[in-house]
Amino acid sequence: MELGKSAVRLTVVSNRARPGQDAPFATYELDRAYDEMFQSDGGPRPHAKDLYDTLCTLPIAELERRQQTCEQSFLHQGITFTVYGHEEATEKIIPTDLLPRIVPGAEWDRLERGLKQRIVALNHFLKDVYNDGKILNDGIVPRDLVFGSKHYLRQMRGVAVPLDAYVNVCGTDIIRREDGSFVVLEDNLRVPSGVSYMLANREVAKRAFGDLYRAYGVRPIEHYGQELLATLKALAAGFRDEPRICLLTPGIFNSAYYEHAFLARQMGVELVEGRDLLVHDNVVYMRTTAGVKRVDVIYRRIDDDFIDPLAFRHDSALGVPGLMNAYRAGNVVIANALGTGVADDKAVYSYVPAIIRYYLSEEPLLDVVETYRCREPQQLSHTLENLDKFVVKAVGESGGYGMLVGPHASLAEREAFRAKLKSDPDNYIAQPTIQLSTAPCFVHGGVEARHVDLRPYILHATDTRLVPGALTRVALKRGSLVVNSSQGGGSKDTWVLPT
């Protein structure tokens, strides 16, 4: 293994960098974006060289065969979502790309420290805004921004949360800027999903490139289930000795159901639906064949709004009537806590560096994307002037909904959005369009560059931990910057190296 030793051996073919002449890379193009495999002169990065060499030696037909095996495996495991046609529903697999994205160990370690710092600070923030509100009194974060957020839950005021850990599972979206530095795009603090795809991608990538995997000494991630279980158990420590933990799912029609079942199996906990639970005298029970049994910890994969029809949306059939009261009474732990969405609001996002300084007296280790808050008149007019360059997002949305990618939008779309912005500026923020980094993907019988992001999963209870890996989401359309699975994105495995 000669990682790091190999110098750039490839010569630049033309002024326009064109990595390699070898078969699978014939149509690979580099542009302004940082590329995960190639340097700007077209040679492979030292850590990516072995993967590059492997790809150059494998016949395309063999890569195709491996890609098919990988898709078959997803299909048979049922890692699918349902597409409803006019006659019947068909199941499609979640697109997965064969080629691993490689992250050098040193880069990962810096990232990990930054993520831990961030989640600790955000937990302080949540405790503060649901109790004393010091950060608001001190004028660091505007009061109306917090109280006006649609994810702020008054029902959570003064509620004691075990270990003051509000966010127990977080899936932060990280992107790489053109200079190669990592930057946080979004904190997902409510019910982040996708971790099962991280694990499923690992399974297929190991099968497809076993020798390479071993030679690289990739850091393992398979213990995620155990780590999650340990986190959930820690939340009930001192409250119940052998806590009964369950995972609350909306049911088989939810697009993430595969993941819910997968995690329940990995942890060995019950997978429950709202109809399996009931609340009596502020205690939560589940219906079993031997009668009802008390439940102590609920890892919920249902949004705040739907979790208790008595407290929130009355039309929700997914939730458990009375759950909020049981929670307030301290008889059950819910992870993540309710109301955490206020801290991943896109307007609060721009204050996170200040939040880190305020609670931890440290400088933030991870950058955020420069953000214009349209609630402020000057920043609004700046945004309106640069609508063709900016990405504009609604503050309370996620999943790529309610957003405008200026450079890719038509004039009509931009004008329509301009009107929305003017009528409700408080609801929007704007950011310069960032060229997400590109990584090699196996498409159309060759290897081409596609934009990717990175979603690691951070766990937090008594301490903060993450497995060394992440979901790399891929914008499968050439040139597209939208990686969300709801918008046609796919994913691939992420290999974190020892050094």
Binding site: L75, H76, Q77, G78, E88, I252, Y257, Y258, A261, F262, A264, R265, E270, L271, V272, E273, R275, D276, L278, H280, Y285, M286, R287, T288, T289, A290, G291, V292
Partner: protein
């Protein structure tokens, strides 16, 4: 175990048993047709439809080929093999975290295969091998269930579902067949009747096992004795009812005596009927009534099991 989960496992097993039973009966019938006159075949198919497409929504007509296709692949026929596999797989998806990955992948593969675009072509080319393949894939699933899943409460619910369905399906099949007994039930049969009874044995995958006990002479009284009362043959009614009684005592281990009393009493009574019944008595008396009684008992057991462990009223438990 969650009541909903027990419910899904139980129904998954019932639908798989139903699919296996239907596929086997259809395969045997299609093969048997080769040795029958068109009239005999048509009459035999009326019984097949009555045994499998049940309850009947509307009178079913058509050539044997059309009927067999309908009972195998028709998406609008609730009791088609395809629909049974689909519903079983839906139930398995609900309890994905409880069954083993091997089981899930086997069932999912079979579901995908029978829903694929090529299936019609395979069917029209060779329906019998197609059905045999379905049965063998289902047997594989049953084997995986036994060898990769913990034999805990969930597994017992699966067994309960399987044997409840089997007891009902076999007694329905016999009920339809015994409506037309020969005058002397103790005489070995000759062709063409012989083939009809041979086919009955094969529909219960019982021919070889029967020969080992009674030799290859097909005697109606002995066939009845074997398929109803044999204690060791897995597709006899007695074998199924013995298992229903046994599995019922293993499920819901935490549920107290009072709650399980009714279901256990009914299952015990049914077991006793089969353990101490006599074929001579039946043949001299009301065998149809007897077989229908078994089906009714199975339904009652199902209902009281449901009331005790799955659809119970919570208020009673909490106010105690």
């Amino acid at each position: 175990m969650l009541s909903r989960v027990a419910d899904s496992l139980y129904w998954m097993a019932r639908y798989l048993e139903r699919a296996e039973h239907s596929a086997r009966v259809l395969a045997v019938k299609l093969e048997a047709m080769l040795e029958q006159t068109p009239d005999d075949a048509a009459e035999a198919w009326v019984r097949v439809v009555a045994a499998l497409a049940w309850p009947l929504k509307e009178p079913v007509a058509g050539t044997p080929d059309i009927l067999a296709r309908r009972l195998t692949l028709d998406k609008t026929e609730p009791s088609s093999v395809l629909n049974s596999i689909r519903v079983a797989r839906d139930n398995a998806r609900q309890v994905r975290e409880l069954i083993s990955t091997e089981m899930w992948e086997q069932l999912n593969r079979q579901y995908l295969a029978i829903h694929s675009a090529e299936v019609e072509q395979e069917w029209s080319a060779q329906p019998v091998p197609f059905l045999r393949e379905v049965v063998s894939e289902l047997n594989l699933f049953a084997g995986l269930t036994d060898s990769t899943m913990r034999h805990g409460e969930g597994w017992h619910f699966i067994q309960l579902g399987r044997y409840t369905e089997r007891a009902q399906a076999v007694s329905r099949l016999l009920d339809l067949h015994f409506g037309d007994l020969p005058a002397d039930v103790k005489q070995p049969l000759r062709a063409p009747r012989y083939f009809d009874w041979l086919s009955l044995l094969k529909q219960c995958t019982a021919f070889e096992a029967y020969c080992k006990v009674y030799t290859a002479d097909v005697v109606p009284a002995k066939v009845a004795e074997f398929l109803i009362f044999d204690p060791e043959f897995p597709h006899s009614i007695r074998f199924a009812t013995d298992h229903i009684q046994e599995e019922l005592s293993y499920v819901a281990p935490g549920a107290g005596g009072a709650r399980r009393l009714q279901a256990e009493r009914l299952a015990g009574r049914l077991k006793a009927t089969l353990d101490y019944g006599q074929v001579e008595e039946l043949l001299a008396g009301d065998i149809d009534g007897f077989l229908r009684g078994i089906q009714a008992s199975c339904k009652q057991i199902h209902q009281s099991m449901y009331d005790a462990f799955i659809g119970y009223s919570v208020d009673e438990l909490l106010t105690v």
